[in-house]
């Protein structure tokens, strides 16, 4: 690498920009491309997928993928950008579902209200838990969310008068403006739309001062603080946002399936969600979607390997963290970029 007066020259083969400042318009176009391109691709994929879905069973898988993807997009913000682990996100998912279920089934709330109300309650819970633990340096959030998730699953299974106990409870369908949403095809478009919205919101958060603050905290918390970034506040905010995503997905699932069980809050489910995020890509919104896609469909399609499922999941997780700690999508993106000869940013 050059020293002395060559230091300010860009390296050979770097690409278009000259030494002087590049015109703002050109820079902005290039900057926006991964964002809008990816979003468009996702929208097209969602719109075109029904051509491949032969029957209700496949629609069901697709809906499941989308629901997991919504949770994963939020969880990815927490793990990949804020650098924190949550081992209890299934708890938020289930509480969102149960909250909306209980309000609509037992208290007669219209589901259009019970869903947001349940989500708000989960947000408050996340805020309370996060506030105390995120002040502390270290991985205390992992432990707190672990505790919270397991407690949630135990409470949901035990308080059977309210929750129906270990066998779960029935959930009325989601009704918008008097029209009940039912059927695989309808729900496909609903969750597809919500997924697109979730991805859009996540991308907006990342390409913003708040997003840079998160990435800075991940890069060097010390330096970030000296730039005025309040670590605890930003981590808390993204934790609550990720809990909201999970709660919404949980509520949608409850109304779609017409049923919800405490197993949805299990530690195992929380771990599965973490695996999807980690495998698909840390600090990559589309990676989270890919992770959810791959790790939801594979077990469904390869039912013959059901017995090996846990082992394979475990092996995948270890292998990913040891060999591609960034996850699949960013690793592939880097490989592609370097093959084209540019020092491409992800």
């Amino acid at each position: 690498m050059g020293a002395g007066s060559n230091v300010s020259e860009p390296p050979v083969g770097f690409g278009e920009p000259a030494r002087d400042a590049v015109p703002l318009a050109a820079v902005r176009t290039r900057w926006l491309r991964p964002r809008s391109g990816g979003l468009l691709a996702l929208a097209l994929a969602i719109a075109a997928l029904p051509l491949l879905l032969a029957n209700n069973y496949f629609y069901e898988i697709a809906i499941l993928v989308a629901l997991n993807a919504i949770v994963c997009v939020g969880l990815n913000l927490l793990i990949g950008y804020a650098g924190q682990i949550s081992l209890g996100h299934a708890g938020f998912f289930a509480l969102g579902g149960y909250g909306s279920a209980i309000l609509s089934a037992q208290h007669g709330w219209p589901s259009a209200l019970s869903l947001p109300a349940s989500t708000l309650a989960v947000a408050v819970l996340a805020y309370v838990v996060g506030r105390s633990t995120l002040r502390l340096k270290g991985h205390y959030l992992a432990m707190a969310t672990l505790g919270l998730g397991v407690i949630a699953s135990i409470v949901l299974a035990t308080e059977d008068k309210i929750t129906g106990g270990p066998d779960g409870m029935a959930v009325p369908p989601l009704a918008v403006a008097g029209w009940a949403l039912q059927g695989e095809r309808t729900w496909y478009w609903v969750v597809g739309g919500v997924l697109l919205l979730a991805v859009w919101l996540a991308l907006n958060l990342i390409e913003s001062p708040a997003g840079r603050a998160l990435r800075a905290l991940h890069g060097s918390e010390t330096a970030a603080q000296t730039l005025g970034i309040d670590a605890a506040r930003h981590k808390l905010r993204v934790f609550v946002i990720s809990a909201v995503f999970a709660a919404v997905a949980g509520a949608l699932m409850a109304h779609y399936a017409g049923f919800i069980t405490p197993a949805k809050a299990s530690f195992m489910h929380s771990v599965e969600l973490v695996i999807m995020v980690v495998f698909g890509g840390m600090a990559s919104v589309f990676g989270a979607v890919v992770g959810a896609l791959v790790l939801t469909t594979l077990p469904q399609l390869l039912t013959v390997l059901k017995d090996y499922e846990m082992m394979v999941f475990g092996a995948v997780l270890v292998a990913t963290m040891v060999f591609f700690p960034q996850g699949i999508v960013p690793t592939l993106a880097r490989a592609l970029a370097s093959r084209r000869g540019r020092g491409g940013a992800s």
Partner: protein
């Protein structure tokens, strides 16, 4: 009344002794790497299940137990060599996730190697209950308490008196300085995993006659052992023992007075309470500054 209370205490202490062994395992690995080993519970499971299988081949119980411990230690060493060491320079987040993956892998493997049923180990010296001060105590409980106490004593001798034990402690205080002094931190890590596996498996073998064992027996025990470690202060050995016994007692008393359905929740409520009110635990954990 007196007898019932004593019974609860005995039962609680027995469970607590197992939690203490598991908690010690957590603290040892935390001290060596700064990471939480979520596969700790699987060592417990491997200990119990291996002993059951080995016993079924006809060998005497003591031999089966010893070989089961050896098997668990081997798994622990392999876990370190294959999954932890290659990623030792990664952040703690990565290490935690790796141990979660390892735990899944081991459980999935256990499901195939053994089966999904519950198995029991015969009690070490029969199951004629002993009457002590009006309470009925299983002889196995005495084994648990006795062996656990021995293990703790052996551990404190190891860390306090032997050169390698002291080297391990030094590494946990300041890894860089330890390396500069010629201590091989990779070996320390390896031994840490071996020790943690040994302690976990010991707990598994001791408790199998009472609480039985199965391919997923490790999950709850692991998580509760972790809660115990947190209660006493992560990284603090006396804390691990204290936390374990305390957790066992609280569970026993809680189940008697509050509700047995929420017995399992006690450990996790403790985790949250510790985090909210005293993150360092009762005795203050050892905090590793990862630069």
């Amino acid at each position: 009344m007196n007898g019932t209370w004593l019974q609860f205490v005995a039962g609680g202490l027995t469970a607590g002794a197992i939690y203490a062994l598991v908690a010690l395992g957590f603290s040892i690995i935390y001290n060596a790497s700064g990471a939480i080993n979520f596969a700790q519970g699987e060592f417990v499971m491997i200990g119990g299940m291996s002993a059951v299988t080995l016993l079924a081949t006809g060998m005497p119980l003591p031999l089966a137990v010893l070989l089961a411990l050896a098997a668990a230690v081997l798994v622990g060493l392999l876990l370190d060599k294959l999954a932890i060491e290659p990623a030792r320079h990664a952040g703690t987040v990565t290490l935690i996730i790796i141990t979660i993956g390892a735990s899944l892998f081991l459980r999935g493997l256990a499901q195939l190697v053994w089966d999904k049923r519950i198995h029991a180990l015969p009690a070490f010296s029969g199951d004629q209950p002993i009457h002590v001060l009006g309470a009925t105590v299983l002889p196995q409980s005495l084994w648990v308490l006795g062996v656990a106490a021995l293990a703790v004593a052996a551990l404190s001798w190891f860390f306090g008196r032997t050169l390698f034990g002291k080297a391990m402690l030094a590494t946990s205080y300041n890894p860089l300085a330890a390396r500069l002094m010629g201590i091989n931190t990779r070996t320390v890590l390896l031994v840490s995993f071996g020790l943690a596996a040994l302690l976990g498996a010991l707990g598994g073998v001791l408790t199998a006659p009472i609480t039985f064992t199965s391919y997923d027996a490790g999950v709850m025990l692991g998580l509760k052992g972790f809660a115990a470690a947190m209660l006493g202060g992560l990284g603090n050995f006396s804390g691990a023992v204290l936390g374990g016994l305390l957790l066992g007692l609280l569970e026993g008393l809680g189940a008697g007075w509050i509700s047995s359905a929420y017995k399992d929740a006690i450990a996790f409520l403790i985790i949250l309470a510790v985090l909210f009110f005293m993150p360092g635990g009762l005795l203050g954990g050892r905090r590793i500054e990862r630069v």
